[in-house]
Symmetry: C2
Subunit: 337 residues, 2 copies
Amino acid sequence: MHSPRLADLGELEVLRRLQPFCAKGVGDDALLLSLPPEMDVVVTTDILVEDVHFSEQTMPPRAVGWRAAAVNLSDLAAMGAQPLGLTVGAALPAETPWHWLEEVYQGLQACLNTYGGRILGGDLTRSAVKTLGITALGAGRPSQTLYRYQAQPQQAIIATGLHGASRAGLALLTGELAPKNIATPTQRQWIAAHQYPTPRFDAISILQALARDHNIALAHEIACMDSSDGLANAVIQLCQQSGVGAQIVRSQLPIPPGLVTAVGRDQAETWTLYGGEDFELVICVTRTMASALVTQMGGHCAIIGQTTNHQEIELVENLDDTGGLPLTLAQSYQHFS
Amino acid sequence: MHSPRLADLGELEVLRRLQPFCAKGVGDDALLLSLPPEMDVVVTTDILVEDVHFSEQTMPPRAVGWRAAAVNLSDLAAMGAQPLGLTVGAALPAETPWHWLEEVYQGLQACLNTYGGRILGGDLTRSAVKTLGITALGAGRPSQTLYRYQAQPQQAIIATGLHGASRAGLALLTGELAPKNIATPTQRQWIAAHQYPTPRFDAISILQALARDHNIALAHEIACMDSSDGLANAVIQLCQQSGVGAQIVRSQLPIPPGLVTAVGRDQAETWTLYGGEDFELVICVTRTMASALVTQMGGHCAIIGQTTNHQEIELVENLDDTGGLPLTLAQSYQHFS
């Protein structure tokens, strides 16, 4: 397909072509945005760089856009907020084809159409490296907000879905993992997990309804975060910020079906704990509510362990075992390491 | 000064060191932020790239931070909003010295301390090119919001300050302009205009007070934008979005003192009209209010022309002359051109 380069169009024409994607009012110095009554604004930001977060090999531009929106919306979901929309800062080489940017915007738009919100503003500049700075705004009631630091001992730890699928999808896309002997639908699922992650607003809706039924204060009796930096990382952050320990049960690890066969048990466990970028939620909540949530959620939502009043954050064979394998931040994905 | 590189510290340690700069609550998935009663949220974003917006030659890291905050706050000011704060996405090479990032944050903080607002969140990643994605949030009353499209014919056009000083400062820093025969205080002013621009919240406060006194509806009878892309660009955007024309009077051009002597009249006029990055405000308002605003503002705030009910946007020798020199967007700074 022939597509002009951004350099062929010039900034003003590129901005004109992006205008239809944007909320009315974008094009002024800033955008004024009303919040629903009694709501506070919730804000989160991510910066995405080619060959770090995406590449031609791993992601078509539509997926770059979807994913850029989804990772930010996932942070809003983890706080119990509803999306209002996001701003898009794009720094791009002058030789970038227009259709690349257009498809990124189509991906952003598709994700916002699915979960709510609009494109609230943008900025466009040139750079040697394709870079997207995304900031998402949401609306949340203070009493319904979920924090990381509210985990209490003896709560169940829930993962809303499988972990390691995004890492396996990346491995398929880069050739690190050979596709032979992996069923085609399984390959597709893993690749989709990497390219088109889904923020779990569905879990939050159910959690909020259950909290009403069980008369539980969301902001005080539940801890939640998303698993963008890996399942182990999420468990560790929740525990350290709450001053509790955790036991994750090996047999309850949310390993994607087929992954042990494809890469062996050790690798599968490592990717599930440390692979990252699955954008599920990890939730600490009373056992009663945990059971209700898992039942209502269905799918791969499951209790994977419990919080404790010890220091240790570990992988065990059975709950209340001692001397499990410590989970570490060191194996989580870290920039500059 | 010895400073470890980001690669020496690792992401977790860098984030730990940045924590003191951030509002309480940063470190969760997102930040919940209350708005003052009856206020809406106002949002704007910019992405800043090394060797496009800043360089070692033109700006110390403290100025990079100050400027990154100031350009976004200037957009809030232009909308009549008060700053709540900003998010910072930083994509940086692993070999970046820690003190570079620390000084950027000190510059951001200094600007927020001066004009209001806090650091509301951030994201850190590696990239081959130093890139900052900044999104500012403000609070504004819908009735007090200023838009670009509300200019009416026969209004005065005000520039809140000098234009071309930032461009002259850049020329001094890059060596494009030789410093000899330019007084040292003048050089310092031009360089400061480039490195440490000041968002004009002071003009907005006076404008809001005057509007109350004159019983003028800010959101309906005044047009305003900042001059980040140049004075001519601002006049053209205001006129085109409002469906009016404009006459800017050559003798009223807000040329910095000393600039004509330093670079000649033609170059001085060009830099004043098209240099960009002065971050002043351009305001269309009734003549009565314009006079009151200029008197109360003092300094270099001045009426530079008038809006008309014609199509033309032009530079004239005297108001109501015909056949002036058309102002153009083409000479304004454009990416990808």
